[in-house]
Symmetry: C2
Subunit: 432 residues, 2 copies
């Protein structure tokens, strides 16, 4: 890992340290995704079958997981994993339930009531990737808020295994949303199927979930099409930024950096510390722990683009972090909560020595679908609200139109919209 003394750098060098590895979407990828969308428009399920054979190496007649396969999933999952899935689900539900958006109402004038009410999005499409391994935890993070929101139809796509089956742990997790329909489809073709609809896959109103560059580009292209398809947020490589002080536990910090690095060679890992001694200890610990990891090759490649950064003080570290807007931010500090109010841009924050990112990835209760690539400047992590939309409602009585109508008519005339004014004035004449 490269070591950097922040205060020895010029502005351009600082910008370079915080620059994420090029995420520029290649023309090839963009055109490839466009071709997949066009093929799914033209040939529907037939195209999905071809792509599944090509990318997943499996020939499937029917993509949907049948009731039998769904029922049988539990028996194939080790008992301790089953128990962990249920325990995580309970905690995710407890936290997400507190986040269900409540309706509100205000009488904004005598006889004029304004409300904002929530409605579940009717048909949602969830994507659970299985790039390096199937991710039952992602199925939990998507299915539980979808169920709590009350979505009528929940469609979940996840890549098929080599034998044409779906991962049983993913299925078990998916059943946290009773009535979920699971399709064995991966990559951009899964996104295209849910965005466009085919004979077997229903067209969804909004798409959710993380994924690789193909999935990200497919979600972006789905959102570009006219007709109202929404997406939860852009998908991108996972990232962690750790801010540690001299009192931090170097072994813990190294373990947190490595747990991010093992996600993939494009994972982002940054350490900011005001202690040169801690920086040395972490660097040494990374080497020790790396040697023991089964996914050491992946982690090593991610670490090549990573940085250990010496800063002047923790305040400077917080400011650098806010400029970077990390997906995950770990505050391995003695008084972590004291810094919270100064942090504006981050997906999820982990306070203190005893809160590894892995806790949030699985079972603290918070959602692990989080904004990456700097999107935390404007996007939130997933919550029940993402599966709902709001409708405003207003109701005026004769008294209400009399109290608020003249203001509306004046502004309508000022904007040159006479028919707007007329719709109010006609009523004012009759309400009097």
């Amino acid at each position: 890992m490269r070591r950097i003394d922040w205060n020895a750098l010029g502005a351009d060098e600082r910008a370079a340290v915080l620059r994420r590895p090029a995420q520029a979407v290649s023309d090839t990828l963009r055109a490839g995704v466009r071709a997949i969308f066009e093929a799914v428009v033209a040939r529907g399920d037939e195209a999905l079958r071809d792509y599944t054979a090509q990318f997943d190496g499996v020939s499937l007649d029917d993509f949907e997981v049948g009731a039998e396969e769904l029922e049988a999933a539990a028996a194939q999952v080790p008992a301790n994993v089953q128990a962990a899935i249920l325990e995580a689900a309970a905690r995710i539900e407890a936290f997400h339930r507190a986040g269900i958006t409540q309706p509100y109402e205000v009488e904004t004038a005598p006889g004029l009531l304004c409300q904002r009410v929530q409605r579940p999005i009717n048909r949602v499409g969830l994507y659970v990737p299985a790039g390096s391994a199937p991710l039952p935890s992602t199925a939990l993070m998507l299915c539980i808020p979808a169920r709590l929101a009350g979505c009528a139809e929940i469609i979940l796509c996840t890549p098929p295994r080599a034998d044409g089956s779906a991962d049983p742990a993913v299925l078990l997790a998916a059943r946290q949303a009773p009535g979920v329909r699971v399709f064995k489809l991966g990559g951009a073709q899964a996104i295209a199927a849910m965005a466009l609809g085919t004979a077997s896959v229903p067209r969804c109103d909004k798409l959710f979930g993380p994924g690789n560059a193909w999935v990200d580009e497919a979600k972006r292209q789905a959102a570009q099409r006219p007709g109202g398809i929404a997406i939860d947020m852009p998908a991108g490589p996972s990232e962690v930024l750790v801010i540690a002080d001299a009192g931090a536990n170097a072994a813990f910090v190294a373990a947190d950096l490595l747990s991010q690095a093992e996600h993939g060679p494009d994972s982002q890992v940054l350490l900011l510390t005001d202690s040169a001694a801690l920086l040395d200890k972490v660097a040494a610990e990374v080497d020790v722990q790396l040697a023991r990891l089964p996914r050491a090759d992946i982690a090593r490649r991610a670490l090549e683009a990573s940085r250990l950064v010496l800063v002047r003080d923790i305040g400077q570290a917080i400011a650098i972090s806010d400029a970077y807007a990390p997906e995950h931010l770990i505050l391995a500090l003695r008084e972590p909560r004291a810094w919270l109010a100064r942090i504006h841009n981050a997906g999820s924050i982990f306070l203190g020595d005893w809160t590894p990112e892995a806790l949030g990835d699985y079972c603290s209760g918070s959602n692990h679908v989080l904004p990456t690539g700097g999107a935390a400047r404007a996007w939130s992590g997933l919550s029940v609200a993402g599966f709902q939309k709001a409708i405003t409602v207003q109701e005026a009585s004769r008294i209400g139109i009399a109290s608020a109508g003249p203001c509306a008519a004046t502004l309508a005339h000022a904007e040159g919209l006479q028919a707007h004014a007329r719709a109010v004035e006609l009523r004012l004449e009759q309400a009097a």
Copy 2:
């Protein structure tokens, strides 16, 4: 306006009635917007100057409205319009204040606290169109929630007038967000400037506001770019769907249809009623009222694509409306509130005879930036929440990691992510 008997139609014909006039973005428009983005990347303010000369017919050295022009605005706005702007602002603020998202926290396990806290989006870019006329009401709808959210920097773009000044009523409305910086820029070039940043216009984190097809395409292209720019929602032609029963006031209904039709030739207007007599009366009233409108030509063109639809009963009308997902839905019914629970897809709903859409457009207190084109299936109208993002926070003590850690480690092993498991297990060893 075309009259239709819904129950005499086959499935294809029904779909055709609800089909919005082609919103397919032409290749020309897409390429035109792309060229504008490329020019702004390459030549910054210079490109903005060229486009402003070309599209707005004005030669501007400096786009930003100076303190003097901003201060002087009030004196140029008639007193009754000034008062109406302040009255509308107060009502919009009252309603939006009730919608400020609150933080929440849950102790999801002993010693493990999860929270979700809100942060304002730092720098927001607002677009106030002036296609047919300047829209101070839109400035209110954007500036007030931005201020309530606490956004640190509020940038507003609105097209210059022929004399190079900004519309004073828009400026007066914009001052509802003290510290707002207003730039005289319109169309796709304004969106490109706020998305990319130039020497004079700061790069924004999220873009808001309605606009024509160029603005909509520019917002979509801004959202496509890597790096985390967000947009409030797709922009599209405005629409109203009115459901009226036999007891409705035909003159009111006709006025509501016309007030939508005058927005532009691409506005969408639909009436659903179970009363053939009311349908006749509304058709006659539209003709009478249309003759008196200054914008009759625009309205007439919009009405050509509009429909008066006879349905079996109000339940059927509600179902059709839900399939269409209108931006504005007026329930000119005797018991409008009784139907509310059955409506899932709409931007904003107007209950009863005394609540014209124009009330919501200006001053009921609800926001008039709403999802169009069917986007109401998955999107909400604008609120303070759109100007904020949430961060999740978790903090485990030694007890917390001991209670939730084993679950995380089990799931990490199940997903083959050993470094994740190790980050938890290391702590479990030391917490014991």
